[in-house]
């Protein structure tokens, strides 16, 4: 499997989970490496993605300085999990606000570990 399709397949796995709305692999400068969305997505979701894109550099700096592997934001409509993949990329999982974050963080971690192999 090529690097591009491998990354996309792992992101699609995440998006396939009932509660996940989108999964995006960001570079820490905010550029998107790859992404996957549920077929139907709302304007609210797009605004949340914009928020992620605008803040991923600050979040990654915070994660680096605090030696954090994972940061979770519980927003009004969605939950966002940032998971460190390597020095320059961060996996972002956006789920519905009622998602079971414990279970979701297990899968995000697994995917972050798998994504390293494609980068």
């Amino acid at each position: 499997m090529s690097s591009k399709s491998g990354i996309n397949s792992e992101l699609e796995d995440l998006t396939h989970l009932d509660e996940v709305e989108a999964s995006i692999l960001f570079r820490i400068d905010g550029n998107v490496v790859d992404s996957s969305f549920k077929e139907k997505y709302s304007h609210k979701l797009l605004r949340t993605i914009q928020w992620c894109k605008a803040n991923v550099d600050k979040v990654s700096l915070e994660m680096k300085s605090g030696n954090l592997n994972k940061v979770t934001y519980e927003l009004n409509e969605f939950c966002v999990i940032f998971y460190v993949v390597n020095n320059i990329t961060i996996l972002t999982t956006i789920s519905s606000k009622n998602a079971n974050l414990s279970l979701l963080s297990i899968e995000s971690k697994r995917k972050a570990l798998l994504l390293v192999n494609y980068l």
């Binding site: 699609e12 796995d13 998006t15 396939h16 079971n100 414990s102 297990i106 697994r110």
Partner: protein, 447 residues
């Protein structure tokens, strides 16, 4: 002896199955003697699981397989997944596996299901043997608690003696509708004990979304069945143990009154139980509802224990639903009978969960010099507490057994064992079985 394990994850059950066949069955030279397969419940459709299990049977050349669905699955050589499957395959001249059995009406007739396991034990002539079985788990659809409302009438509170009989009928109805595990799992353990079974490991399949859970035996996929088998050997020994996080004990309280036949508690410390329960754990009602409505209103972080004459402190879960004045608990009737009714609160923590997994594995392997493999039934509530640190828990098990020892962890909706002729029915706990060689005769291990 060949033992292969693996965990794969993929959004498609077909791809996950294909990968696991490649990784695990491909590692066994020839056809395995026996397999344990565990899938996560997110694939939902029964026919999808039927196809997947049929494929594993076809590719492996054996129908000697049992398994089920669990919110997460893990093996010693892979990180846990909540979207995939784990498989453990065995091929050994030293280890025997009785052809797996199933009983499809286990919620209503637990004794009949247990009889099937007893027969396996009696038919096996090997020196050392132990059982392994899986059952359906808790299933609380949104309206499940409405059926409990009749337990709350003034009449029920006043005439408890009579309502214990009605409680039994309600219990039966709850069993039929698939609500709880307590009513049938403890009966299976008692039946096994009555027939001289000394060691067995059991666990309940579960879907935390309360939508679907399945059990597998051969190519069959069931929704409300017990599936099980017997491991036996003349050269290998089997060690069992269990543990839970009891590191942070806080208050005690008295279970004053309740309908013992349906594990329904009316009064705690001689006060209405819901009110007093929230008072003891010091949480306002609205916050409790907000925090626990997603997990069937069970206060999983606040685990209570009750001291049993035979089994020491046994943990149980309390369910505090807004429409009920009482508290539903997971205490088997027999344990409530033999206890002093003084319960203790133990607050669960991530570190405590990890430590207790180590304790369980270490204690199960205590009489075994060279472990060969391990099987662990670990509460799915502990999974929620551990979150993405779940991997650490399995690392602790690996540390206890040896880093090259294959094992499988299933995150269950109920954990139960028979250990050294004693039944252990406990909530939010980890139960384990370790098989291996002993230089000296095996000692009885009591945790």
């Amino acid at each position: 002896m060949q033992i292969a394990t693996g965990t794969t994850s993929h959004r498609s059950i077909h791809t996950a199955t294909k990968q696991i066949i490649n990784d695990v069955i491909g590692d066994i030279n020839g056809s395995p003697d026996f397999m344990i397969a565990a899938y996560t419940p997110n694939y939902r459709e029964k026919k999808e699981y039927e196809k997947a299990i049929a494929k594993i049977c076809e590719e492996s050349g054996t129908n000697n397989i049992i398994g089920g669905t669990f919110p997460a699955v893990a093996t010693s050589n892979d990180v846990p997944t909540t979207q995939g499957c784990s498989l453990m395959a065995f091929k050994s001249a030293e280890l025997d596996f009785q052809p797996p059995v199933s009983y499809s009406n286990i919620r209503l007739n637990p004794n009949k299901g247990a009889d099937k396991l007893v027969k396996l034990f009696k038919d096996d002539q090997k020196q050392n043997k132990t059982g392994f079985f899986l059952t359906p788990g808790p299933n609380f659809p949104p309206d499940a608690f409405n059926g409990m409302k009749m337990l709350d009438t003034i009449f029920a509170h006043k005439f408890r003696g009579m309502f214990n009989q009605i409680g039994k009928l309600i219990n039966r109805n709850m069993g039929k509708n698939g609500y709880g595990v307590t009513s049938f799992a403890y009966k299976i353990l008692k039946k096994l004990l009555e027939n001289g079974v000394s060691n067995t490991l059991g666990g309940a399949t579960i879907d935390l979304d309360m939508l679907s859970c399945y059990q597998f035996q051969g190519e069959n996929v069931f929704q409300n069945a017990m599936v099980g088998t017997i491991f036996s050997s003349d050269t290998l020994n089997f060690g069992h143990s269990w543990a839970f996080d009891k590191s942070q004990r806080s208050k005690t309280f008295e279970i004053s009154n309740g309908l013992k036949s349906s594990s329904y508690v009316h009064t705690i410390n001689d006060k209405p139980s819901k009110e007093e329960f929230l008072n003891v754990i010091d949480i306002p009602e609205n916050l409790y509802e907000e925090a626990f409505k997603g997990v069937a209103y069970a206060s999983l972080l606040y685990l209570s224990t009750l001291k049993s004459e035979d089994q020491g402190n046994l943990p149980f879960v309390s369910v505090c639903h807004p429409i009920l004045e009482g508290v539903i608990s997971t205490i088997p009737e027999e344990i409530l009978d033999e206890s002093d009714r003084i319960a203790e609160f133990c607050t669960q923590s991530g570190i405590g969960v990890q430590k207790s997994a180590y304790q369980c594995a270490k204690s199960a392997a205590q009489g075994i010099d060279n472990p060969v493999f391990g099987l662990f039934i670990n509460c799915s509530n502990r999974l929620l507490i551990a979150g993405d640190k779940t991997e650490q828990e399995n690392k602790m098990i690996a540390e206890a057994l040896g880093t090259d020892i294959p094992f499988m962890t299933l995150y269950s909706g109920g954990e139960f064992s028979v250990i050294n002729h004693k039944p252990v029915y406990a909530a939010v706990s980890v139960h384990g079985m370790v098989a291996g060689y002993s230089k000296s005769p095996q000692k009885n291990v009591v945790f």
